[in-house]
């Protein structure tokens, strides 16, 4: 049936030159694709099942508001603001200097991002603005401010170290020194609405240690609070306008339910040496939780992609089975062009189908996720018009189109549907299944080295902070390399398969 239409086209355009014949080829292939009722049904099923599964998966999700003990940061997002604070007020310009004598973990090893140093903070209210110079056991000296800004000072440095912060209007500058005499500037940060009177002093924090246990068939993520003790000497608060020296006070900021009473912290002073114990972290919350609402609302695509692969494989293998491929090649002896026309038709069709499926999935599933607790201020849910969301939706459609072309190429190479389906589907599914059983590095590599890496385009949370240990598990679809690397991997697989298909098609008998 399809060929007669193609032939009609061929006859009608018989007088045309070769330039136009590719257009006719594309039309002929499109006629073949749309005139098989089962394939149209399958495409429709791909859309319906994708949306249905996405919506069902979204209904089965519960985010519980991100857990206890979070604060709202200066930009209105959820933050962790938990530490032990030894402070006194500072009015106007001035600064604080201290020598960190030592930094040690309490009850076991210290966290690589345990923090000890000097801080200038808007107030003792959790979530208020701050700038801090700190030393960490694993990442040297850092200047951090307002939860999301992190600047590295000297690396591979551990206590003892001199640290200093000076305030001038709304800018705060951090310095470090090995001896208290020669100072190096680490950087300057702007705290736009810093009040005249701020709290300055010493702080100690130690984040929750995240332990990822991976066993075949089950993985568990455990979080246990850690705590750290630091000793400070030579603590000087210098004000530009001299006044009465204020007394020190100390308190645990943002004492969260996650931290046991015994770890909340304490401070003692003897002979000019402060010993401060503290727990918690000063960091953005979203990075720690790492939940991507858009990716979660596209779960059903895994069903849709299976159906689309089947149709794409059949688009060429059914011609081999029925012997129609010989008619096709007789009508159009340049076989490479036939495959190109098929690839264009199947890619364009599945892209449109995928666009429909992924747009409807996000449109319907995102509000459900929001109702289940995936909502601000804890979670950042981008709006539909956001660039990253549009990239995820169009990218998902493109991934489906690429898998369709991959299926078509596999069909052209193997000429039989079972084999072609298996070589495309198994590398898509197996990494997802076994990633959870492998060590983290091996799992990340596996997810990035297989065609399934293309799904990384669904990521919308590109905001990842090196200084927060986030739970980014590859089997949950979290890629540390961002959205494009994985997409490129899938493109490369598709290109290689298509090239092999071209080569074999021209070389072999039909």
């Amino acid at each position: 049936m399809a060929t007669t239409t193609a032939d009609r086209h061929a006859d009608r355009h018989a007088g045309w030159d070769g330039r136009d014949s590719f257009g006719r080829l594309v039309i002929a292939e499109w006629t073949k694709l749309r005139s098989v009722p089962r394939w149209a049904m399958a495409m429709l099923a791909a859309v319906v099942l994708t949306v249905l599964v996405s919506v069902l998966a979204a209904s089965g999700n519960d985010y519980g508001g991100g857990g206890p003990g979070f604060a709202i940061g200066p930009d209105g997002t959820g933050v962790r603001d938990e530490f032990y604070f030894v402070h006194q007020p500072l009015t106007g310009d001035g600064g604080v200097t201290a020598k960190v004598l030592s930094q040690t973990g309490v009850e076991g090893e210290s966290h690589e991002w345990a923090k000890a140093g000097v801080i200038i903070k808007e107030s003792t209210k959790p979530g208020s603005q701050y700038a801090a110079m700190m030393i960490t056991p694993g990442h040297g000296v850092r200047l951090q401010s307002n939860f999301t800004t992190d600047r590295a000072g000297s690396q591979a440095t551990t206590a003892p170290r001199w640290l200093r912060l000076t305030r001038s209007g709304t800018s705060v500058t951090g310095y470090e020194s090995a001896d208290g005499a020669n100072w190096t500037q680490v950087g300057t940060v702007q705290l736009p609405s810093l009040p005249r009177r701020v709290e300055v002093g010493l702080f100690v924090a130690s984040p929750v240690a995240i332990k990822i246990e991976r066993q075949f068939g089950s993985g568990s993520v455990g979080a246990s609070p850690t705590s750290s003790t630091a000793r400070f000497s030579d603590v000087v608060v210098a004000a530009a306008q001299p006044g009465r020296p204020a007394p020190w006070s100390d308190q645990a900021i943002g004492g969260s339910d996650r931290v046991p009473e015994s770890l909340l912290g304490s401070a003692t002073q003897a002979g000019g040496v402060f010993t401060v114990m503290g727990s918690g972290d000063i960091a953005p919350l979203a990075a720690e939780l790492d939940v991507d609402g858009v990716r979660e609302s596209l779960t059903g695509v895994f069903v849709g992609v299976m159906i689309i692969i089947a149709v794409a494989v059949l688009f060429i293998t059914s011609e081999y089975r029925q012997g129609m491929i010989r008619t096709t090649f007789a009508a159009s002896p340049r076989r490479g062009r036939v495959l190109a026309a098929k690839a264009i038709v199947v890619a364009a069709t599945t892209f449109v189908v995928g666009l429909l499926a992924s747009f409807a999935s996000v449109l319907l599933a995102l509000p459900i996720l929001r109702a289940n607790g995936l909502a601000p201020p804890v979670f950042q849910v981008p709006s539909l018009s956001d660039g990253s969301v549009l990239r995820a939706i169009a990218g998902t459609a493109a991934v489906l189109a690429l898998f369709a072309v991959l299926g078509l190429a596999a069909g052209a190479i193997l000429r039989r549907s079972p084999g072609a389906i298996i070589v495309v589907v198994v590398p898509l599914l197996i990494p997802q299944l076994i990633a959870g059983a492998l060590p983290l590095a091996a799992a990340r590599w596996l997810m990035l080295a297989t065609p399934a890496a293309g799904f990384s385009i669904q990521q919308t949370t590109t905001q990842r902070y090196d200084f927060v240990s986030s739970i980014c598990l590859p089997e949950d679809g979290c890629f540390t390399t961002g959205p494009w690397v994985g997409f490129g991997v899938l493109c490369a697989y598709t290109a290689v398969a298509l090239a092999a298909g071209f080569w074999l098609l021209r070389r072999r008998d039909a």
């Binding site: 519960d62 895994f302 299944l433 949950d476």
Partner: protein, 283 residues
């Protein structure tokens, strides 16, 4: 396909008992199955994938990753049989092709002309395919256990650390081993049923693989513990593979045999659908 050239099995069977008739039908189906060039390769693949994947998985787990070997809580039997999850791909293809291959070549019309009782044709075919898969599954499971026995002690899973060598004399291990063979047989039945209903190899393979793999994959994205458990109970693969568990049974959503029963229900439903469609539809 040779078998279908025997023109009149019903006529020849007239004088004989029903048993002989069935014997000929089984023989015919067996001949069809074994003479398809892909069958020996798929059987080999089912065994080889199961053993190789089991060995690779077992080798990747080491007690040194745990705080102490005793705290590993590793179910070494389940670990050693993990390759069945991969070997089943070959089982699905084998079982689907056994029926869709006849549709693809048109042999099905000859088969039905020779034996008009369609339900009997399908059940005979299912019996032959399942028996073949059970045999391959037994080889795969025994190979996997042997690989596990060889690899585990080197990774610290020694008797001294509380992991006695795998042995079929141990009740739970025997249940896991026999259950895995049955699991593969049920996957074959499921595939024959779906293959009969769909009549097309690509569609049937994709349907079965989606049912087996994609549902558990989606379950990993569901964070609500209640829903997560529900999906694990309802998905044929995760439920069926609960038969492989030998320790911490109380933490499973279903008892081992109950889990296998879920898969059996899927297989029965698929076969029922297959028989109904096969007997009511034109070939």
């Amino acid at each position: 396909m040779n078998a279908t050239t025997e023109p009149e099995p019903p006529a020849a069977a007239i004088g004989c008992g029903r048993g002989h008739h069935l014997g000929r039908a089984l023989h015919a189906e067996w001949t069809k199955l074994r003479t398809v060039p892909s069958t020996p390769w798929l059987v080999l693949a089912a065994v080889a994938f199961t053993v190789a994947a089991s060995a690779a998985l077992t080798a990747s787990v080491d007690t040194s990753l745990c705080p102490s070997p005793l705290e590993c809580h590793e179910d070494t039997t389940k670990l050693s049989l993990g390759g069945a999850q991969f070997g089943q791909v070959a089982v699905v293809v084998l079982a689907v092709l056994a029926i869709t291959g006849e549709y693809g070549t048109g042999t099905i019309q000859t088969t039905l002309a020779a034996r008009p009782h369609r339900a009997a044709v399908l059940l005979t075919k299912a019996a032959v395919v399942t028996t073949t898969v059970l045999a391959a599954g037994t080889l795969g499971v025994l190979g996997s256990l042997a690989a596990g026995r060889a690899i585990l002690p080197g990774n610290g899973f020694t008797a001294a650390n509380g992991y006695p060598p795998l042995s079929l004399a141990d009740g739970p291990t025997l249940r896991a081993a026999a259950g895995t063979v049955l699991y593969l047989g049920l996957v074959a039945l499921l595939s024959v049923g779906v293959g009969t209903a769909v009549r097309d190899s690509a569609g049937a393979i994709v349907t079965v693989l989606t049912l087996l793999y994609v549902v558990p994959m989606i379950a990993t994205f569901v964070t609500d513990p209640q829903w997560h458990e529900r999906l694990q109970k309802l998905a044929p693969m995760t439920a069926g593979l609960m038969i492989q568990a030998t320790s911490d049974l109380e933490r499973l959503p279903l008892r081992p045999w109950a889990g296998l029963a879920v898969l059996a229900a899927y297989a029965a439903a698929a076969m029922l659908l297959g028989v109904v469609l096969f007997t009511t539809r034109d070939a």
